[in-house]
């Protein structure tokens, strides 16, 4: 019953989306307000209908209705209820429903909260959004129907991949989808602007909150995925340059570029064409990311559905959306009014440079990800591109970009001079050079790269602090009034830039100072790894709700400046009998300065294979990402996005007003 309700709601949503894709656009062309208003209503109805379908599917999982093929394939009675619910989106068909749900929710958001948009622009945005919806709903209904029945219904189902039975993975896909799909809104805005032939400051200001709304969850999603890989895959790596990881990183990089170029378009009306191109590309890369995962064109650990038929459908969708948008761009973008000019040393120039570097870095990741596909298309070799390539190319390109992050916010809009900037940067640069020199002496010249990494991280954190310090500094020292009136967006920028520095410190420490040891341990054995002494207290078998496990108990003593501290860690190896899968649950002792990480392997002549790691500052990687996300959230909360786009501020407020970031 629930399955039929859901299926029917999904079909109705498709019909609604078709109407929403055509009528508001027609209304915008003809200037018919009734048709334009229809878009707002339809967008909200579409969200409601897909919401019903999603809840119906979830109900099928909750009730363990194995007559629904999807439930039978991905849920088992022995599975705890939360994971059975999470299985709703832990598979290809269900995740597509989640995808269209988020798409429709964003559409409804534009319909509901886009009251201050130009009606013709809003109508076009909603139409484009609905056209994407039509494609994905058709994809879901015709190639991967989640509600297909199974007859006869089995008594119990197969299980969700146990690797995915983890709180981190319950939230990882929805967050990523919020990001991917969020870029559909900026895509719609870009296409609508091309159709209207207008990409002005107001347009950029309307679009920017949506860029942030996509960028924040994407940041969190990537960080969560990396964190999950760290504690669940049992080898303590946090980034693998896996095609699927790259698929999420590329939209993030372009989204970051878009975030910055939209500022230029908003403040100075410049770079409009570039901003539009970035908006198109960010969403296209999200689509390509989906294509990559679902088509089997690249094999990866994460891939859900390896089905060339679906790949063809998604490829057609990419051609339809990106192809049309880029064609439109080639035709209409040259006609856009170009904005104000700026000099070679100015905030605009800095942001342009930032964009070029981000674009180059994205291109590097793109090439690395797709090189196997390209090679396979022209020859018969199956090859893959590994971390050495990325270390060689990604790192050198990132360094100038990161150096620039601290310089950018100090530049004045429109025109600045090298001398002014140099004066502002003199003390911070000296300080950071001093830190670098001190680190070099402390760590030794063999670790020069690591010292440089830490110094660069410090440079970024200092940059974040400087943004706030300069803003808060009145004529007579720290001014409370200035602290109070600092726009949320400025705080957001400071937080995000400093967060990047924190992440960089974590990455540097992990690359330069991580230690590991693999050995066979018997109960009672003690092993020394760096400043850490690990004792195996005992090992035994235990029974979980839907798994059996071998559990080993360790105590870890960490020597520190203030005396040692001891803590107990347990590490497990789980075996899930239903799906015949094994997972590792590493024992992780977290700390501000680093983690101790213990994973166990097979038993061997009375002992157990133990892998010990010490991961310095590893938590900083994700904490920095969290800071970036919080920075984005602060920026999103900025008042200027809520008060529409005033054409002129009252003169009284203009005194001493610095442009908000």
């Amino acid at each position: 019953m629930f399955a039929e309700i859901g299926h029917f709601a999904l079909i109705l949503a498709l019909l609604t989306a078709i109407a929403q894709g055509l009528l508001p656009m027609l209304g915008a062309v003809r200037g018919d307000t009734a048709l334009m208003a229809f878009g707002r209503t339809a967008a909200q109805w579409q969200a409601v209908l897909i919401g019903i379908a999603f809840i119906a599917l979830m109900a099928c999982f909750a009730r363990a209705d194995f007559s629904v093929a999807l439930v039978a394939e991905h849920a088992a009675l022995s599975q705890p209820l939360p994971y059975r619910l999470a299985a709703t989106w832990g598979n290809h068909e269900g995740s597509m429903v989640l995808w269209v749900l988020i798409l429709a929710l964003f559409g409804a958001g534009i319909g509901r909260f886009g009251g201050n948009l130009r009606p013709s622009l809003q109508a076009r945005v909603l139409s484009v959004q609905a056209m994407i919806g039509v494609a994905f709903l058709a994809f879901s209904l015709f190639t991967s129907n989640p509600f297909a029945r199974l007859s006869p219904a089995p008594a119990d189902g197969a299980e969700l991949n146990p690797l995915l039975q983890d709180p981190g993975l319950v939230f990882h896909p929805p967050l990523l989808y919020l990001g991917y799909v969020g870029f559909s809104v900026t895509f719609s805005f870009a296409v609508a602007a091309l159709l209207e032939g207008r990409a002005d400051a107001a347009w950029a200001r309307w679009m920017r909150p949506w860029v942030l709304a996509a960028w924040i969850p994407l940041t969190c999603g990537i960080a969560l995925g990396s964190f999950w890989a760290y504690y669940e895959l049992g080898w303590g790596g946090w980034w693998f340059w896996d095609p699927v990881e790259n698929a999420s990183l590329m939209p993030w990089l372009l989204g970051t570029a878009l975030l910055h170029s939209a500022i230029v378009t908003e403040k100075r009306q410049a770079l409009a064409g570039w901003t539009i191109l970035l908006a198109i590309l960010a969403f296209s890369l999200s689509l390509i990311g989906t294509f990559l995962v679902r088509s089997g064109i690249l094999t990866s650990v994460h891939a859900f559905a390896v089905d060339p038929a679906r790949g063809v459908f998604i490829l057609a969708m990419i051609i339809g959306s990106t192809g049309t948008a880029l064609a439109l761009f080639a035709w209409r973008a040259p006609l856009l009014k170009s904005g104000a000019l700026f000099s070679g040393v100015s905030r605009e120039a800095g942001l342009t440079l930032n964009n070029l570097f981000l674009m180059a870095v994205t291109a590097v990741v793109f090439l690395g990800t797709f090189y196997p596909v390209i090679m396979e298309a022209v020859s018969t070799d199956k090859i893959s591109v590994g971390p050495p390539y990325y270390n060689l190319v990604f790192v050198p390109l990132s360094v100038p970009l990161l150096l620039l992050v601290t310089v950018g916010p100090l530049l004045a809009w429109k025109r600045d001079s090298v001398a002014t900037v140099a004066a502002k940067l003199k003390w911070p640069a000296l300080l950071v050079t001093g830190v670098f020199a001190a680190l070099l002496l402390a760590l030794g010249f063999g670790k020069a790269l690591a010292a440089f990494g830490f110094a660069l991280g410090f440079w970024l954190i200092l940059g974040g602090i400087m943004v706030l310090a300069r803003r808060w500094q009145g004529a007579s020292g720290l001014s409370l009034r200035l602290v109070r009136t600092t726009p949320a967006a400025v705080i957001g920028m400071a937080l995000a830039h400093a967060g990047l520095g924190v992440t960089l410190c974590g990455v540097t420490a992990m690359s330069g100072f991580a230690e590991s040891k693999i050995l066979v341990m018997r109960p009672g054995d003690t092993v020394q790894l760096g400043a850490m002494a690990v004792t195996l207290n005992g090992a035994g078998e235990m029974q979980g709700p839907n798994y059996q496990a071998v559990q080993a108990r360790f105590s870890v003593t960490q020597a520190g400046l203030l005396g040692g501290s001891t803590r107990d860690l347990t590490s497990e190896r789980r075996f899930y009998p239903v799906s015949r899968n094994q997972t590792t649950e590493a024992g992780i002792g977290t700390g501000l300065l680093g983690n101790s990480y213990i994973a166990i392997g097979d038993s061997q002549n009375g002992g157990i294979v133990v892998r010990l790691y010490h991961h310095p500052l590893v938590g900083w990687i994700w904490f920095g990402a969290l800071m970036m996300a919080m920075g984005g959230a602060a920026s999103l909360a900025d008042r200027r996005f809520r008060i529409g786009a005033p054409t002129r501020l009252p003169a009284r407020l203009l005194v001493g007003l610095v442009p908000a970031e």
Binding site: L277, P308, L315, I318, F329, A330, P334, V373, E376
Partner: protein, 176 residues
């Protein structure tokens, strides 16, 4: 000049689509084995019951089929009749029970019958790692010199046996 800059994205995009299109026509499941045309990695495994197991050196003299199976594997009973047939047609079939308790393997063989010339136990899964086994069942075809010539991932169906593996083994038999 400026105009070309605006057209460049669509041109680059079309080239990419062409490459993806070609990529889609390839079968992603065809994973080539690193071992093709190389000798089997060195191993010496105990039998699942008292008596001789076998080592990689057993694979010389005649072409053979090395089958990786397990009593807990769901697809193995499906493949079992085909292995029985291969053995009945006079080809050497060796079995490695992967990550399986010897008692379980013995029970499984007692239940389904024994198509294998010899069965060895790889309880720790070490040898399977050297072989690059990704799951069970998997089979390797070796030539007279003990070199791997073909790898089958998943169960051998009657069609695969008739169409691919049998002709290959006959050819290997004829080879010098």
């Amino acid at each position: 000049m400026n105009r070309i800059l605006f057209i460049a994205p669509i041109i680059a995009f079309m080239a990419l689509v062409a490459i993806f299109g070609i990529g889609l026509t390839k079968d992603p499941k065809e994973l080539p084995s690193q071992l093709i045309d190389r000798p089997l990695p060195a191993f010496a495994l105990p039998a699942i019951e008292a008596g001789g197991g076998f080592a990689n050196t057993a694979f010389t003299g005649e072409p053979a089929l090395l089958n990786i199976f397990a009593s807990w594997c769901a697809a193995c009973p499906q493949e079992h009749p085909v292995l029985t047939r291969i053995s009945a047609e006079g080809f050497a079939v060796y079995g490695i029970a992967w990550k399986d308790k010897p008692q379980d393997s013995r029970d499984w063989i007692a239940r389904f019958g024994n198509p294998y010339k010899l069965i060895a136990a790889d309880e720790s899964g070490r040898t399977a790692i050297d072989l690059g086994v990704t799951g069970v069942p998997e089979s390797f075809i070796t030539d007279k010199h003990g070199r791997v010539r073909f790898k089958q991932i998943g169960p051998i169906s009657p069609e695969v046996w008739e169409g691919t593996i049998k002709p290959l083994m006959l050819k290997l038999r004829a080879e010098a």
